[in-house]
């Protein structure tokens, strides 16, 4: 345990701690542009320079190990000048216009320039090669703004195991991107947007669709309905200065209503519906395997997360049959909205516009899939990220903080706590277990406060085994069966589970995968910047939302029950099959 001195503060740190981490422990702030806690410390940006007594030059504190007796100064004239030069050089190459850049409000480079007191650009010269890649429905890359910090490369390769991005060419010509300058659409990108979530500048952002929504709202011939994903309510507040983990459900509804949506609905409704379908699908698979002895593919994989679906199609096409055939809640909502609901209010599906607000960029891609047209037209028309909704509320001139709390509209705004927790890693599994248990045993789900603790939290892969007791009627074959489940978040972790299954090292009945670390609360479309601390705060908020509900189990949702009674019939029935289920496609891996 080395003890060192940072700006006259003595601090004892564990072996292997970097000077940067030690400084943070001592409460000393060192600016960074490429560092990502627990993910990347490579000294690429050179902004975290400090003076170390006895060292010949300034050192990058993120890669410098803290050693016994080390004396570090973080605020000397030499340090300030060094950092300033580094940022001035970055600015000299940066081909961006801060006045109109979508990142100007929270750009780390611009903020740093301001913090370092850079008033004028000292250096002029060649700019970074600029081209704009808007080949995908989800993401837009602008290479001119890239500062080659490599955060996106590390997240894409190490966290997600996708490897769509890498440094191409060398020296001044280095461009971060796919192989040989290919557009993202041509490569294995799963469009999860984790690259956009960690980008310090405006080099990778979501495709902005705000104006499309305004146009729909202003079109008198259109009925425009909106759905908001569970994870939005725990993060949107951050766009308006609330601390992470502030629930703003009521204000969000009020804002959407004031913006002019004809109905403010909830993806939560469709999440409850998903549980009915996916839970039934699981029980049917188990029955066919255990009773009928059919060669049924198990474990069943969850299918709510579109980045995960893309990943499976590219990287594990031999296991597509494991994926639940259920569409994601977003797409179930779109299909039900433009059939059941459109019919109820007497609107033709082509005259209805369904807008989604998602914590996700891959949802933009998902909505654009050609097979997502169960209603005869595109089921979900426009997808906004949480960040875009925040920007749109600001554009509308709405004082978000002053809004009253309002409630979602019926019927597609009615939901349960089980749907709220879809936002968190482990949440889909927990929601499914709450319902499956009660269908099978007809007794209350026996976990304290309905939470299955082993599958909650930020551990990369979580598992649980639940012994079925009191199985009744047609489900009595499950009596005494240990229901084995696994939960993974981050595609790198998901691949670990897949490898275990393939190698026969582990057996599960049901596996939940969410593409982004932490689940949807850490999605690629959430307000920046998402650290583990922020993830935990948002997850707590989601649990609070769930625990504050009267109804916390999907099968208790009265609006979903009515949907089955009035329209669908039974879960996994014929109409469900047409509207709520889908199929998958194999794509090239490289």
């Amino acid at each position: 345990m080395p003890t060192l001195t940072i700006d006259d503060i003595k601090v004892e740190v564990p072996e292997g701690t970097s000077v940067l981490q030690a400084a943070r422990q001592a409460g000393v702030n060192i600016p960074t542009l490429c560092y990502l806690e627990d993910v990347q410390a490579i000294g690429a940006c050179r902004v975290c320079l400090v003076e170390v007594e006895g060292a010949r030059t300034l050192v990058a504190s993120c890669t410098q190990p803290a050693t016994e007796g080390m004396v570090v100064k973080t605020n000397t004239g030499k340090v300030r000048a060094g950092r300033r030069t580094v940022v001035e050089l970055l600015l000299s190459e940066h081909d961006g216009d801060c006045k109109v850049c979508p990142r100007s409000a929270d750009c780390e480079l611009r903020t740093l320039a301001e913090e370092l007191g850079i008033g004028e650009l000292t250096y002029t010269g060649e700019k970074t090669r600029r081209f704009v890649d808007d080949s995908t429905p989800a993401l837009v890359r602008d290479t001119g703004k890239c500062i080659s910090c490599r955060r996106c490369v590390t997240v894409c390769n190490e966290v997600q195991g996708v490897g769509a991005l890498f440094a191409q060419d060398r020296g001044f010509d280095t461009l971060i991107g796919p192989a040989f300058g290919s557009p993202l659409d041509d490569v294995v990108c799963v469009q999860c947007g984790q690259c956009a979530a960690v980008c310090p500048v405006g080099a990778i952002t979501e495709r902005n669709q705000i104006d499309e929504v305004w146009a729909a709202l202003e079109d008198p011939t259109k009925t425009v309905v909106v759905q908001t994903a569970p994870a939005i309510r725990a993060a949107l507040g951050e766009c308006f200065g609330y601390p992470p983990g502030t629930l703003v459900t009521g204000k969000m509804v009020a804002a959407l209503r004031r913006m002019g949506f004809d109905a403010v609905f909830d993806t939560d409704f469709a999440a409850d519906l998903t549980i009915m379908e996916e839970g039934t699908e699981l029980l049917e698979r188990l029955k066919r395997a255990l009773v009928d002895g059919e060669p049924v593919v198990l474990p069943q994989f969850s299918s709510c997360s579109p980045g995960w679906i893309n990943y499976m199609e590219h990287f594990n096409p031999d296991m597509l049959a494991n994926l639940s055939t259920c569409k994601s809640p977003q797409q179930m909502f779109g299909a039900i909205s433009k059939t059941y609901y459109a019919d109820k209010i007497g609107v033709r599906p082509e005259d209805m516009v369904v807008v989604s607000v998602m914590p996700c960029t891959a949802k933009k891609f998902e909505a654009a899939r050609p097979e997502m047209t169960a209603s005869g037209v595109r089921d979900v028309d426009i997808v906004l990220t949480t960040r875009e909704l925040g920007a749109m509320i600001t554009q509308a001139g709405i004082d978000f903080r002053a809004l009253p709390d309002e409630k979602m509209d019926a019927p597609l705004g009615i939901s349960t706590g089980a749907a709220d927790i879809f936002a968190n890693t482990g949440g889909v599994m927990e929601a499914a277990l709450r319902t499956v248990w009660e269908i099978v045993t007809e007794t209350p789900f026996p976990f304290p406060d309905l939470h299955v603790e082993p599958i909650e939290g930020l551990e990369g892969v979580k598992t649980a085994s639940i012994k079925v007791q009191g199985a009744r009627g047609e489900w009595s074959f499950l009596e005494g069966v240990d229901l084995k489940v696994a939960v993974a978040h981050g595609l790198g972790n998901a691949q670990k589970v897949i490898d275990q299954i393939r190698d026969g090292e582990a057996e599960y009945h049901f596996v939940e995968v969410m593409t982004c670390p932490g689940g949807c609360i850490g999605g690629g479309g959430q307000p920046r910047f998402t650290t583990d601390e922020v993830r935990k705060a948002r997850m707590q908020a989601i649990f609070k939302e769930d625990e504050g509900r009267e109804l916390r189990k999907s099968h208790e949702n009265p609006a979903v029950r009515a949907l089955y009674e009035e329209y669908l019939g039974a879960p996994c029935g014929e109409l469900s099959h047409d509207l709520l289920h889908t199929h998958y496609f194999e794509h090239e891996r490289v």
Binding site: N157, V162, G163, A164, L165, F166, A167, Q168, D169, R170, G177, P178, A179, F180, V187, V188, R589, V590
Partner: protein, 178 residues
């Protein structure tokens, strides 16, 4: 097939892409699972194909379990690697300091004119490709050019045609280094 191009003695026909990929597989098998396998595999692949075509790079990415973006990144980083087909003979002109000051640029210009191609280009008859190098370790003999593995020293711009003439009937680069 171009009748002017002489083939190696043992086989009458140019190897098919499939045959080349089979040879590549044998190379990959030797290196699979070893740390740092990518660069030597790329180097040997370039020997087999004469350059690094997309089909070979994607094959390497799949077989070594590496992202294609990373394979492309490594290819782009090292000037040794090329993704465009090369001629039978690779002419490299040293533009290291010693060669540069002793007229390397004039030699380069003469070669460009003689071959009627630019740096990185290949002649229409696919006989010669032109590249620049940074020091072959023969500074005392500057200016230096290399044709395939042969070093030619104290090259005079006027006499580059004589050097090129020596390679009129040599076997192709790809076949020699494979």
């Amino acid at each position: 097939m171009n009748e002017d191009v002489k083939r190696c003695e043992c086989c009458a026909e140019e190897p098919t892409e499939e045959e080349l990929l089979e040879r590549l597989d044998a190379v990959i098998e030797d290196y699979r699972g070893k740390p740092g396998a990518l660069i030597p595999v790329l180097q040997l692949a370039q020997g087999i194909f004469g350059y690094l075509p997309e089909v070979a790079l994607k094959h390497i990415a799949r077989r070594l379990g590496k992202p294609y973006s990373e394979v492309a990144g490594v290819v782009g980083f090292y000037s040794f690697f090329t993704t465009v087909p090369r001629g039978e003979h690779l002419v490299r002109v040293c533009l290291g300091t010693a060669c540069y000051v002793r007229g390397g640029v004039q030699v380069l210009d003469a070669l460009k004119k003689e071959l009627d191609i630019d740096i990185g280009g290949t002649t229409d008859d696919r006989r010669f490709s032109l590249a620049i190098g940074r020091c072959f370790g023969a500074c005392g003999l500057a200016p230096v050019i290399m044709v395939d593995e042969d070093v030619h020293h104290r090259v005079k711009p006027k006499r580059v045609n004589e050097i090129l003439a020596q390679y009129a009937g040599e076997p192709a680069l790809a076949e020699r280094s494979a």
